[in-house]
């Protein structure tokens, strides 16, 4: 089966934390266990302030195997308030990436 992953168009990530809590709810992770974290990468650059967030799926991310087997989207992808996360086969996501400047691709273990 083709390898799957997450495409995160972080240009649009507002740091809303929906992915974080969606993941915990889906996996019943208690506080302290994170399937995905959101890093605040805010910095001063070129005389302006750039407020950016970068989601980081951890080693606990299983791409929501249970959901995706049922044909559902991963919990984070579905609930992302900015609709900036995508799930799919890597080569499709890589193609999609070309039209999404400032994005990253994640592949789990």
């Amino acid at each position: 089966m083709a390898k799957k992953g997450l495409l995160i168009h972080y240009e649009y990530c507002t740091g809303c934390m929906a992915c974080v809590v969606a993941c915990k709810q889906e996996h019943d992770y208690p506080a302290g266990r994170w399937g995905i974290m959101v890093n605040d990468c805010t910095r001063e650059t070129e005389g302006r302030v750039q407020v950016d967030f970068l989601p980081f799926p951890t080693d606990l991310c299983d791409l929501c195997a249970r959901r995706t087997h049922q044909g559902k989207r991963p919990a984070c992808v579905k609930h992302c308030m900015a609709e900036c996360m995508f799930y799919g086969e890597l080569h499709d996501l890589a193609k999609k990436m070309e039209t999404m400047p400032r994005s990253v691709l994640f592949v789990p273990k």
Partner: protein
Amino acid sequence: MNEVTIFRTTAWSPGPGCHGGCGLELYVKDGRLVKVEGDDEHPYNRGRLCPRALALTQYVYHPDRFLYPMKRVGERGEGKFERISWDQALDMVEERFSKIKDTYGAEAVIFAQGTGRDIGGPISFLCYSFGSPNWVQLGLAGHSCYTPRLAAMMFTHGDYAVLDAGQFVPEGMDDPEYEPPEVIVVWAQNPAAGCQDGFYGHWVSDCMKKGSKLVVIDPRWTWFSSRAEKFLQLRPGTDAALALGMLNVIISEGLYDKDFVDTWCLGFEELAARAAEYPLERVSQITWVPAEDIAEAARLYAKAKPAAIQWGVPIDMGPSGTTIAQAIAHLWSITGNLDVPGGQVIARAAFDVTTYPFSTQELHSLYGEEFVKRMNEKRIGAAEFKLLKNFRGWGQPDRAVEQMLSGDPYPIKACWIQTTNMLGGQAADTKMHYQALLNMDFNVVVDCFPNPTTMAVADLILPAASIAEKESLRSWWSPLQVMMSAVTVGECRSDWEINLELAKRFNPELRKRFDTVKDLIDDRLKPSGYTFDELKDGHWKFPEKDTPTRPYRRYEKGLLRPDKKPGFRTPSGKIELYSTSFEEFDMDPLPFFTEPPESEVRTPQLAEKYPLVMVTGRRSPVYFHSEHRQIPWLRECDPDPTVEIHPQTAQELGISEGEWVVIHNERGRIKRKARVTPIVHPRVVSVPHGWWLPETQGTEPNLYGIWDINCNILVNIGPGDDSGYGGGPYKTALVAVKKLSQGEE
């Protein structure tokens, strides 16, 4: 094993806590809520959901939740309560309130709520059924939350208006008539952190994906500022000057919509003359924003067709908040952006169904004009503030707290406190409100969790249901929808259920009309022709085309005025840039700028001693005001009460990241953890509000730590001016910040 049942309902209040509107799917198994997801088919959120709604199971089944009515058995503040039955609890309220009514009059009981949640309907219903005129957002200085903006809009163009993100039509942004705004001005709000005023915040990022360009006006860099064509980092509280400066540019450069102004507006010459008093150099000096940036922002907005403004509560909190809102409403009025696709679309409650009375018209239709008039005789603030008397039904919060302490002009003896933790949240001058509440003979608190307010002042606690446990209705704004109960938790009851039962005791006439809450909901739904059963389980409804509660260009079609003539619902039928209503209310008919009560200009000596402007109230995506600090999934995302301080300022003060510091002024001192960040202006500190620590001692004297960390201790009450609305100085208090000295706690 039992199957999972999915209930399709709508978010509005306990749980996510918000102003609501989303479609939710509640997964229930064996009578227990096991999961929450966004409803993919719901036009509001299209399946998406915020962290607070996603943490609903932790909220609903939290071990701290109130599960049954309790009466106080120890002293106030000792935290000693005893379980009683609902009958005993309601008997107690009936008896105590009736006694007060007999001795002092019904006006001696205040009905206090917090923000605009699914509470305005039930609490005003109870308040009026009891006969008190005093429905109050107690603690909210200057009544500075949306009402000033609403008043400005109502008296300028006879209706409310919001950014058009396609939310009034079933197809949303895919509607063939719709087009996204070419430019959006995000004015004093961070829409990423929540859904304020019934507006799904991420519609702004949706519009950006469709090409909308941004102008952002804020003292603080947000995600949106970093993506804006123009970011104006203004001095807190100077929004009126900025708006007038922009109006001046647009008028003097001829960038306004001349045809629209000629046909639909009155008072343009007067407005032009007023705006001319705000040349760029002056405005730049007032606002700290470079003149060229102001001019460019004005041009960007005025040249775009369509363009829209997404505004926030700091406008209400600015000095003379109503007039700031008026100036901003003039921006969309003279550029012809009112009620056009992708502009500022007129917002009415779907099908004219009233849930939460948002206007005088709605109050009249629910309770009758005579009744509303009678209520005005004793309504707190109505005699003093003509605008307040002629708009909505609120008592004035600052006068209310003063009166609770002074008994002048008449005594206040009891407080019904429903879904508002004012001592941990909105109450400016927290100590004053604390003393005022302790001055009451009887306080009832209806809430979901113990908090500083329940701990300090409650004599009786009634357990409120969350959104998963209640039936209600919502028409803010579209679509029309209802909430369904999916589970029961302890003996919790919905606000509607509690208030209907009590209202019947005070007004037995109601027994004939409403047996159950569903009867009441069906009654309120009447103008729509639908019933609760027809709307439940995800059957929301949008108004039909060419009806008064659906856009666009209703002023051309005669859909806005009661006489069905084209035009707006104002005395003249036109957009009143020069407000005859304001004139009647002894207010300036045109917008103006006035300095905040404390500032480098108005109080220079104070500013020397307290050189930083404290803006409170920046939103966190995981909290709603003072809620959710006890929800584990949410708290770990934003664990500490912080102060955002600029690196340069921090360096001057010798403060480093993560260190606990003291913020102080003449009103007191609090402690916060320093977050050193370039997002704030070097002369401003941002101090998130609503902080209390549920993990610490709740009983006196600690009260969950509020006297140590609640920023509103440092904020004065209002009101700011002679309208009674606006100007709660939550964004403009002057403070100093220093390191915590050795041994200091």
